[in-house]
């Protein structure tokens, strides 16, 4: 298991997200990270046609190729983790006029790099050929204890992005902060990949949580 943090990288200092991507990639490679393979995260949103139903977001991540992750808006349920065939099932429900896909898929495409015990995924967010930004996912593979893993990754990000701890904490998504806060009461701090995907959902701007 891994502990991972997903953040949106600022691209204001560069002319375009593509240039920012190249710049960060070069920085990582110069620091010793090795390119392994392309990585992709895909998000499809299903809107309900029938009245009592809710919006469902289905994500796939190339790091977990045999799974798909589903999340319902405005609900307190955790993420549902299923086989790849779940997408075929959702498409079938779409064909049966239970759900509808109104927005096109949002994709994060980029490169996966490995640096010792870290797995770094750097990618550009795009929807319908329009590039929207840059996302960085840093995972520490050697442990699954959330708080310690989070501190370690934070140190790594500090040195890589050359910024202060406070700036990094501001970049961390709301979902991960809530997860960390909820762990104070619980004994088991085991991280799981659904939290990574929830962070992606936050960044891709789609998640709406229920109040309370």
């Amino acid at each position: 298991m891994v502990v991972a943090i997903v953040i949106e990288l600022p691209t204001d200092l560069f002319k375009s997200p593509a240039e920012a991507f190249d710049n960060y990639l070069e920085k990582l490679e110069k620091g010793g990270a090795k390119k392994t393979r392309p990585f992709e995260v895909e998000l499809t949103t299903y809107n309900p046609i029938i009245p009592n139903s809710k919006i469902v977001h289905v994500l796939t991540h190339s790091e977990y190729p045999a799974s798909s992750f589903a999340y319902i808006d405005h609900s307190n349920t955790q993420m549902l983790v299923a086989d790849n065939t779940f997408i075929a099932l959702m498409d079938k429900l779409k064909a049966l006029r239970v759900f509808d896909v109104r927005l096109s898929k949002t994709r994060v495409r980029g490169t996966r790099l490995e640096y010792q015990d870290f797995v770094i995924n750097l990618g550009t967010v795009s929807q319908m050929e329009a590039t929207k930004g840059l996302v960085l996912e840093v995972a520490f593979v050697a442990m699954d204890e959330t708080r310690d893993g989070y501190c370690l990754i934070q140190e790594f990000l500090q040195s890589f992005l050359n910024t202060t701890k406070q700036k990094i904490q501001r970049l961390i998504t709301e979902q991960l902060s809530m997860w960390l806060r909820s762990l104070k009461d619980r004994k088991d701090n085991e991280y799981n990949p659904s939290v990574t995907l929830l962070q992606y959902l936050d960044i891709l701007g789609m998640r709406k949580q229920s109040n309370g």
Partner: protein, 212 residues
């Protein structure tokens, strides 16, 4: 090809999974004769018959859904306390008088424990549930299950107590012969029919009759 890429490629492939089905029933007191005959006719690698003990819960969409969609959640009671849940969608069988077997489309995937809460959030309501306990026999691609269907005396919502009181539904066992194939398999129907003929006169396996 990189395994991650080939798996995510599979995700996008549009294969149409079809299930060829024949169903029948046999009285409890004659079920042992059927089992003996099946043990003789079918593939018998280990010498022992494979048993199963499953709990299936059916959820369906309440009106005003356009079609009557139902999804089945099934898990093995043998796997407690952490069973693997299967989510299955089966369409109504096609009414085709020329074929010997019923053909229906289906989608199957493995999901996590929170599938029941997930389906309820989506607007699916609990319909009914049952327990199926019996044996599985295989002959080539054909799978035959001989199961005793029972219901519980009280509604058991959590996967928990296997000692719940079970009441048999009828005095007979439910027998189903199925094969998974694609649209291009013409000979499948004949293959299944000829095998079903070998089981007569003990049991007569027929197409699914929607009216009954």
């Amino acid at each position: 090809m990189d395994p991650a890429q080939s798996l995510s490629g599979q995700n996008r492939s549009s294969f149409l999974p079809l299930e060829y089905v024949l169903q029948g029933s046999i009285e409890d007191k004659s079920a042992h004769l059927l089992r003996a005959r099946l043990q003789g006719l079918c593939d018998n690698i280990t010498g022992e018959v494979e048993l199963f003990d499953d709990h299936e819960i059916v959820y369906s969409l309440r009106p005003p859904a356009p079609t009557n969609v139902s999804l089945r959640v099934r898990y093995a009671l043998d796997d407690l306390p952490n069973p693997i849940y299967h989510l299955r969608y089966v369409a109504a069988a096609e009414l085709d008088k020329s074929t010997h077997v019923s053909i229906r489309q289906f989608h199957d995937c493995c999901v996590t424990k929170n599938i029941q809460a997930f389906l309820q959030e989506l607007g699916f309501g609990y319909d009914y549930e049952f327990y199926a306990k019996g044996d599985i026999y295989r002959k080539g691609r054909i799978k035959i299950t001989v199961a005793k269907i029972s219901t519980s005396t009280e509604r058991n919502r959590n996967d928990g107590n296997p000692m719940v009181n079970r009441r048999p539904f009828t005095d007979s066992c439910f027998v189903e012969m199925s094969l998974i194939g694609s649209v291009l398999d013409d000979k499948v129907g004949d293959e299944m029919k000829s095998f079903a003929d070998q089981l007569k006169p003990l049991i007569s396996l027929e197409k699914i009759d929607q009216k009954r």
